[in-house]
């Protein structure tokens, strides 16, 4: 509705600054699956007739999949970035983001014992530039994640540590960062660094400059 006086205009501008959240990637996948099941009955009837032809095509596709050169799963890679950003937004928007306040990494890490089915490997205790605020338990896709909360000036930096298996890790276009090979992406105004070290995956997300995140990432396990 059109503002009629300056107060309404200012109020509308202020309301325009309210935080907005996109649907989490997992919810989007569920809704897409729900919608996919809603195709009309006629299509399903046709599907029965086309099934034998489909089987033949599927067999051909299987052969092609075996002999084709490897291709990066682009959509899945984007999903990982979107999931990391959504997790970061959940931290930023949460009223009580920190479940264990930091007295240093040796206080935060043991807190995860019994809450996760893996031991998150993070050695960096935080410093004046990147103080460690605390930790919490979150989710990355279908698995639990250790969430470490760092600060840089007034910005929040979220580090997610999670089991790396069964995720579409990219092998090309990675950026060397000290001992790490990092996938650097930008989504919805946030910088996202994702990498794998052994059995664990790491995602570092924030609205700080990419250079600041690049400074922090290699120090997390190699301070």
């Amino acid at each position: 509705m059109t503002p009629t006086d300056p107060t309404d205009g200012e109020l509308d501008q202020a309301l325009g600054r309210r935080p907005r959240a996109a649907a989490p990637a997992e919810l989007r996948r569920r809704m897409e699956a729900l919608v996919a099941d809603a195709r009309p009955a006629r299509s399903r009837r046709l599907g029965r007739w086309l099934a034998p032809l489909g089987s033949a095509c599927a067999a051909g596709l299987l052969v092609w999949l075996v002999i084709r050169p490897p291709v990066e799963p682009r959509g899945a890679r984007v999903d990982m970035v979107e999931e990391a950003v959504n997790d970061h937004l959940r931290v930023v928007e949460s009223t009580h983001p920190v479940e264990i306040e930091s007295g240093g990494i040796h206080q935060v890490k043991p807190w995860f014992t019994g809450r996760l089915d893996f031991a998150p490997r993070v050695e960096f205790s935080g410093d004046a530039d990147f103080p460690l605020v605390g930790g919490s338990v979150g989710y990355f896709h279908d698995r639990k994640a250790a969430v470490f909360h760092f600060r840089h000036r007034l910005h929040t930096i979220t580090l997610l540590v999670f089991p790396a298996d069964r995720l579409p890790w990219p092998s090309r276009g990675l950026h060397p960062l000290g001992p790490l090979a990092v996938d650097e992406q930008r989504s919805r105004g946030f910088n996202v660094l994702i990498w794998r070290e052994g059995e664990l995956g790491y995602a570092l997300v924030s609205d700080v400059n990419l250079a600041d995140l690049e400074q922090l990432a290699p120090r997390l396990n190699h301070p």
Binding site: M1, E10, D12, A14, R17, P24, V35, A38, E93
Partner: protein, 170 residues
């Protein structure tokens, strides 16, 4: 009769808006996810009843009804989601003075979100529906009230929000 699959696919284009609105309605990301899922399930069930027009407004009406039902299930003793619970302020609000205007300009997104969350459910809903760009007719249809009452309710809700923002800005 509308194609159920096509309607559902078109409805997916509004997923982010429904989730964001749901988050403000429920004040909770997990409940918002449940609400959106319930909304889409109802959309599929009611596709045959969609008579054309603004699909987004139709989706928001279904979401509102799902929210009311969800609240009745989880908080049966809570007051009903009724326009009568709208924050009451008598008369038209006075225009803001320079201090209030300056305060509005300084407000951060987090403060605005907190002020929205402190409104009653009904006041928050009508302010947000207005922000989504719905016409008064569409808002009336979504909220299930007469067209004539939308303007006064919106005005009262925005006045209540200004009061809350003053509190949050202190």
């Amino acid at each position: 009769m509308p194609d159920r699959g096509r309607l559902a696919r078109e409805a997916l284009a509004h997923l982010d808006a429904l989730y964001d609105h749901g988050r403000y309605l429920t004040r909770n990301a997990a409940d918002a996810e449940d609400l959106v899922q319930e909304t889409y399930a109802r959309v599929l069930g009611a596709a045959a009843t969609f008579a054309g027009g603004n699909l987004k407004a139709w989706l928001f009406r279904i979401q509102r009804n799902a929210f009311i039902d969800q609240r009745r299930r989880t908080r049966p003793m809570a007051p009903s989601f009724d326009p009568a619970t709208l924050d009451t302020l008598e008369g038209a609000p006075a225009p803001a003075g320079p201090d209030e205007l300056a305060q509005l300009r300084r407000m951060t997104g987090v403060e605005i979100e907190a002020a929205l969350f402190s409104l009653s459910d009904e006041a928050r809903a009508i302010v947000l529906l207005d922000l989504e760009g719905f016409t008064e007719t569409e808002v009336a249809d979504i909220l299930g009230c007469a067209l004539g009452t939308v303007k006064s309710r919106l005005s009262r809700a925005r006045a209540a929000l200004r009061e809350k923002l003053k509190d949050h800005g202190r």
